[in-house]
């Protein structure tokens, strides 16, 4: 909510001419969600400070302005950091209140406007969660000295850790307009929440404010992606316009990238293995239980041998996303008949699961609480009873290979368990004995000599001869 800019040096107060704000006259400007005040906390020949203070109406923010229609007002909106932090509101206010200074033009003081001055700027409460090292990496290449102060979330509860806010001061030798442009672009890069919709217009804004300096900035990928709210399409568009799109690799931490790559690879291998197994089974119909966004479904739709495919997930949103990714709307009648997508749960008996040769359960069971597995087993093996079940799950032993993973940690926040190879086999064999299936195990991904492969897979196949007596039996009367 507060930005101060200080000019150090001779005739420091002259900076007021560039801002076009009279040091003796505090001013107030109307903003969309509140007011902006401009005043001078300090004016002397050696040092002059101008302050931009935003007063944002928290109720307007949460409720929408009187008469405005807004849906889905969440609990968090009233208890909201927006009125207090340095955010995109500040950028908007900068452009509005210091618009002229930002252009670098001055009718009477053009020389001053063109001069590099000894400037510093302080942003109070800039949200910058676990990004503090990026402050240096973003501002220093531009020529600033960076200082910031962090704070505990609540000094009475030290175990709650540090808050995400810093008070940031940058010092440097800049034209005033440059400083303002830097601030305009870089505040939202750290805050990461824009209070307005991001569209193509935003790319223009970014380019307008950064054409002088972003192109050669070592963190240009980071800045562009963050400014455009991680909208990849827009970011690429912007980078193209900066004619740097061809240069390689974004600037994420390299080890992180490698691990991500590896996982991406593993995912591809996993789907490949499942697909190969489906082909080997000679099936004509497959139901993918826990289909997620439909990565496997997309591959299945290309298989000419399959006549009937179903994708099931318990998360309704994921089904919607699967539809989008598969371009379901553009499907022909025949394709639509071939693929059924519906919401279902693996712990509720469901007649819609029946009638498929194969059920695939790819990286799903580890998302169920262990005690619920028995219900899942019955739903799938006793009632849906497909000829084959192809199931994959992480191999916990392999986690030792992941550097970022603690020993007790699981690979994903929602995993309720991860099994060692022995545990997995024990479970699969128990299930196969109980429901009369045969098992065949295989490894997915590059195997470690000691730890095994990252993913383990089993293919259950129904024992034809025992199927008949598999059901419940009763005494004759």
């Amino acid at each position: 909510m507060l930005l101060t800019i200080t000019h150090h040096g001779k005739n420091a107060a002259d900076i007021g001419y560039l801002f076009r704000k009279n040091p003796t006259r505090p001013q107030v400007f109307a903003l969309n969600y509140g007011k902006a005040f401009v005043f001078y906390p300090e004016v002397s020949d050696e040092k002059t400070t101008i302050a931009l203070l935003l007063e944002i109406d928290p109720v307007d923010l949460a409720k929408g302005k009187e008469g405005a229609k807004r849906k889905d007002v969440g609990l968090f909106d009233y208890v909201n950091d927006r009125p207090y932090v340095s955010s995109s509101f500040m950028s908007v206010a900068l452009a509005k209140v210091f618009g002229t200074a930002m252009t670098g033009r001055s009718d009477e003081f053009q020389a001053l406007a063109d001069t590099r001055l000894d400037l510093s700027a302080t942003l109070t409460m800039l949200p910058c969660k676990s990004d503090t090292e990026m402050l240096n990496r973003v501002f220093e290449p531009l020529g600033y000295q960076v200082e910031f102060e962090t704070f505990p979330a609540d000094e009475n509860f030290p175990d709650w850790g540090e808050s995400r806010y810093v008070n940031l001061t940058i010092n440097g030798h800049f034209k005033l307009s440059d400083l303002l442009h830097h601030l305009y672009v870089l505040i939202p890069v750290f805050d990461r929440k824009k209070h307005y919709w991001i569209d193509r217009e935003e790319v223009e804004k970014l380019l307008r404010h950064s054409e002088e300096w972003l192109k050669d900035h070592p963190e240009k990928f980071f800045i562009t992606h963050r400014y455009l709210f991680k909208n990849r399409a827009l970011a690429n568009h912007a980078l193209e316009r900066l004619s740097v799109a061809d240069e390689e690799a974004p600037t994420e931490d390299l080890s992180e990238v490698e691990e991500k790559e590896e996982r991406l690879n593993l995912n591809r291998q996993r789907l490949g293995s499942v697909l190969a197994r489906i082909r080997a089974c000679g099936a004509t119909s497959v139901i993918d239980l826990g289909c997620g966004e439909g990565h496997l479904l997309a591959l299945l739709m290309k298989e000419t041998s399959l006549q009937k495919i179903a994708g099931v997930d318990v998360v309704y949103m994921l089904l919607e996303r699967a539809k989008e990714k598969l371009h379901y709307e553009r499907f022909s009648e025949r394709q639509k008949q071939k693929l059924a997508l519906f919401q279902g749960s693996l712990t509720y008996k469901d007649s819609r699961f029946s009638g498929y040769d194969i059920a695939t359960v790819v990286e799903v069971i580890e998302h169920l609480d262990l005690p619920r597995l028995s219900a899942f087993e019955r739903v799938l093996f006793e009632f849906a009873r497909p000829k084959h079940v192809i199931l994959t799950t992480p191999n916990r032993e392999y986690n030792a290979r992941y550097e970022n993973l603690g020993t007790e940690q699981l690979r994903h926040g929602d995993h309720r368990f991860e099994w060692t190879r022995a545990e997995f086999r024990k479970w699969a064999q128990m299930v196969s004995a109980k429901f009369h299936y045969a098992t065949q195990f295989s490894d997915i991904g590059e195997a470690d000599e000691k730890l095994g492969s990252p993913t383990q897979m089993v293919c259950f196949s129904l024992n034809e001869n025992t199927e008949k007596s598999g059901g419940k039996t009763g005494e004759s009367a």
Binding site: T4, P26, Y78, V315, K472
Partner: protein
């Protein structure tokens, strides 16, 4: 005889039947139908032709018309409505469709033929300009009809009535007959007795134990006043005294003291008695040997008796159904070969097991009917009950016991077999139906209407069910434990007092104006809502909750998630609760081995640590720091400006331009806002403390929701509070009593005291209070009233409406809030919560409990202002 008497024909129709009107065009079928049936009972082909094509005579539309007609017919028959099909039906193919319909719906088909002179039909058609087809059409139809008349019964019509000429058609009396299986007016009480198989001694012993007066000489038994016996079939075979059993059962049925349904063994015996070919296995040989010593007239009597046995009975307004091998919901009260087959043999698929016995399909697992089905046929060591079905065949003849099920008492009375009379082909073992209560997706998904005792037809929207399914499947605990989810609670009406959003007067007013004078105010603790279910020991958990996780209980959140990520904390807290209850004698005093509690679990920070640090503390941190900086910068500027004004004597010029800012008032604002942020920080901190050991938690139970045989919603809130104080607190500091205060809403002083009590609580930062009517459930006329209204403190509300909600004109704007939706939601969720507990206490099937719990979760995803 007079002319009318001579021509009056009585047409008897089974109350549920498909009636085919048969007659050529112009024979007067529609007129006949209109005269004798309700308009909605008649499905006319002409009408459906019109419906699908705007033209009643458009023959091209016939196919679509009949498809729609049969579609509607099926819908009517699904719910047991007599249906009249008004079409010419002169062709066999058309009638075959009707017979197929009746068979599929397991009801009888009746033909009523309007056999009119051809000339008359032609005349009638001529008068109707829309029917411009030639006479040859009628001639052809007439000849088709004539050829059909003799074959109608063979085609499958159970009853055929032929009305010759207009006079006969004019003088008809339609009599609707209940089906034989319809004994809905008989409400018992009944003693329903499982498979006897010739175990006469055990039968006598059982009847005596049930209070019947027996005379073994003349084979009679007189029931205690008002009671009746129901024999579930399989009276004979395998056992030692088959004829004696037959004599007694026949006499009791004849005397009106008993009903009997047919069993598969009875069926085979009839076949034998009628001279059919039977293989005398499975103990039939024994019965035949006994019967050979009896007179021919006795055998004839047995034949008559057994032949008259029907497949099943529907008793007590449809709430009870008795059948030998059980019966699906869609077969109840129906009559067909398929129904009979099912009732005698159960559901089979033609497969046999390793003993060569037919494989039985576990139909009861999928049973979702409202009627209790009592059946036998499949011997089990103990009575097995699942999904509102009870199997009472306990294998007496195999050395088990003979069991009677008392209705409506729902008690089991049994006598042990004196010996093993017959060796079972395969050993008796539980079928496991009882544990087999896997939920079905149809139990929860799609738009549903749930009926509860307190509110009828609670609508669950499909999209809300989507959300609930996700939460239930991904996060909730085992549904066996999940017998209740707490309802949301509405705040009081918005206060008129300037500084307050909520104030107690409005809460009292709510009840006062609805004729409820006595209310109870309970302190509202600020922690996390939790439900605790605890059993005395693992055995009772297994038995009562049918769980297999070796837990004695659970603690879960308002959305059904396990409260603690760490199972050992849950177990330790439950262990301490168990010790408290054992120490206080709760288990004995309330004759229960389990209980369910509504509690508030503190501190808030124990559950909401992330929310606190990431949201609440973060806002406090940002606000406090930012406003401090702002204050100091504004103060500096103010100093500079005023110094300037003094030294250079520049007159202050506020108001000259709208852009001029008043720094003094800005400073005041910043100061006030900074103070609000401090108060806000104080407010949330109060609900947070560090938890290092179990002793750092506090649990405040405020409802004892249920114990064995009892939902505590007939106990008033003072009783709840006192019982909690007595049995749950004072021993272990982990469990704390909740301060409360009774208020008389009609007494001004009492209301003022109540308000003062709230002021005292909230001024020190407590969340506030909940005002509840003295009685747990209150109504005004037929309208259910809010079971509780919360009134939250001024400081607490900062963490709901934001740190600065009391400043500026914020309150004025915040006061514009609507409570209507929240209140309806609160009532619906409360009704569902009570219903799920009542169903659990009545030992209803899991799916019946789960649908209510699921319903609460689904309702919780309705978009309602979360700050209410």
């Amino acid at each position: 005889m007079s002319r009318t008497e001579k021509t009056t024909m009585k047409i008897e129709l089974p109350e549920l039947s498909v009636v085919a009107l048969i007659g050529v065009s112009g024979s007067g079928k529609s007129t006949f139908a209109r005269r004798y049936f309700k308009p909605t009972e008649i499905l006319s082909s002409d009408f459906f032709r019109g419906l699908v094509s705007d033209d009643e005579n458009n023959q091209q539309a016939s196919k679509s018309a009949f498809e729609s007609l049969f579609y509607v017919a099926n819908k009517r028959l699904d719910i047991g409505k007599l249906t009249v099909i008004d079409a010419t039906n002169v062709q066999k193919e058309a009638r075959d469709d009707i017979i197929r319909l009746a068979r599929a719906q397991n009801c009888l088909a009746v033909a009523i033929v309007l056999n009119m002179p051809e000339k008359l039909c032609a005349e009638r058609n001529e008068k109707r300009p829309d029917r411009d087809f030639g006479d040859y059409v009628i001639r052809r139809q007439n000849s088709q009809l004539r050829r059909s008349l003799r074959h109608l019964e063979r085609e499958g019509f159970r009853y055929v009535y032929i009305l010759n000429g207009p006079e006969e058609a004019d003088a008809v009396e339609i009599i609707r007959k209940p089906l034989w299986n319809n004994k809905k007016e008989e409400s018992g009480p009944f003693d329903i007795i499982g498979d006897i198989h010739g175990c006469f001694d055990e039968l006598c012993a059982l009847l005596e134990q049930l209070g019947y007066v027996l005379n073994q000489q003349d084979f009679s038994a007189i029931p205690p006043a008002g009671r009746k016996a129901v024999f579930l079939g399989d009276l004979c075979d395998r056992g030692p005294e088959n004829v004696k059993v037959l004599r007694l059962a026949m006499n009791m049925v004849k005397a009106g003291y008993a009903y009997a349904v047919i069993g598969n063994h009875d069926f085979k015996l009839i076949k034998y008695l009628k001279g059919g070919k039977v293989t005398a296995t499975h103990g039939l040989d024994l019965t035949i040997a006994e019967l050979k010593k009896e007179t021919a007239s006795f055998c004839a009597e047995v034949k008559t008796f057994l032949s008259a046995l029907i497949s099943h009975y529907v008793f007590d307004q449809g709430k009870l159904v008795a059948a030998h091998a059980g019966i699906k919901e869609k077969f109840q009260g129906r009559s067909s070969g398929a129904v009979r087959e099912f009732c005698m043999f159960g559901e089979t698929n033609g497969e046999t097991d390793e003993y060569g016995l037919p494989v039985r399909q576990p139909w009861a697992n999928d049973y979702r009917g409202a009627a209790l089905v009592v059946y036998g046929h499949t011997p089990n060591p103990e009575v097995e009950s699942v999904n509102n079905t009870v199997c009472v065949d306990t294998g007496c003849v195999f050395g088990g016991k003979l069991t009677a099920y008392r209705y409506p008492e729902r008690e089991v009375v049994a006598v042990n077999a004196a010996q093993e009379y017959y060796r079972a082909i395969k050993p008796l073992k539980p079928q496991g139906f009882a544990e087999d209560d896997l939920l079905r997706i149809d139990d929860v998904l799609h738009q549903r209407y749930l009926s509860t005792r307190l509110r009828a037809n609670i609508k669950i929207l499909e999209e809300n069910a989507f959300a609930a399914l996700e939460v239930m499947s991904r996060f909730a605990i085992d549904p066996h434990w999940l017998i209740y989810l707490p309802p949301t609670m509405s705040p009081c009406e918005t206060s008129h007092l300037e500084d307050y959003l909520e104030y107690p007067v409005e809460a009292f007013e709510y009840y006062k104006t609805r004729g409820i004078p006595k209310v109870v105010c309970e302190q509202k603790h600020m922690g996390s809502r939790a439900v605790m279910v605890l059993c005395k020991d693992i055995d009772s958990a297994r038995r009562r909750f049918k769980t297999g996780d070796e837990k004695t209980g659970v603690i879960y959140t308002r959305t059904g998630r396990s409260f603690f990520d760490d199972d050992t904390i849950e177990a330790a807290i439950l262990e301490r609760l168990n010790r408290v209850l054992t120490h206080s004698g709760f288990w004995e005093d309330y004759a229960t081995d389990w209980l369910c509690l509504d509690v508030e679990l503190m501190p808030w920070s124990a559950k909401a640590k992330f929310l606190l640090s990431d949201q609440y503390a973060a806002v406090g941190r940002a606000g406090r720091n930012a406003l401090q900086c702002a204050r100091s910068e504004v103060a500096k500027a103010l100093q500079f400006v005023s110094a300037l004004e003094k030294s250079e004597n520049i007159p202050p010029k506020p108001g000259q331009s709208s852009q001029n800012a008043d720094l003094e008032s800005l400073l005041a604002t910043c100061t006030a806002r900074n103070e609000a942020l401090d108060l806000y920080t104080t407010a949330y901190r109060r609900y947070c403390w560090e938890v290092n050991t179990l002793d750092d938690y506090r649990i405040a139970p405020f409802h004892i929701l249920a114990t064995e045989g009892k939902v505590w919603n007939r106990e008033n809130h003072v009783t709840h509070m006192e019982a909690i104080k007595k049995y749950l607190t004072n021993v272990d500091a982990l469990f704390m009593a909740t301060p409360y205060k009774a208020v008389d809403t009609l007494d001004e002083n009492s209301v003022a005291e109540g308000a003062a009590w709230w002021e005292a609580l909230t001024v020190s930062g407590d969340e506030g209070m909940v005002v509840k009517p003295h009685d747990f459930i209150v109504t005004k006329g037929r309208e259910l009233l809010q079971p509780a209204i919360k009134c939250r403190g001024r400081e607490y509300l900062r963490i709901i409406y934001g740190p600065e909600y009391t400043l500026n004109n914020h309150l004025t704007r915040l006061k514009k809030r609507g409570l209507a939706r929240k209140r309806i939601l609160a009532l619906n969720e409360f009704a569902l919560g009570m219903e799920s507990l009542e169903r659990f206490v009545r030992k209803e099937p899991l799916y019946r409990i789960h649908e209510c719990v699921f319903g609460v979760l689904a309702l919780e995803s309705e978009p309602v202002d979360p700050r209410l």
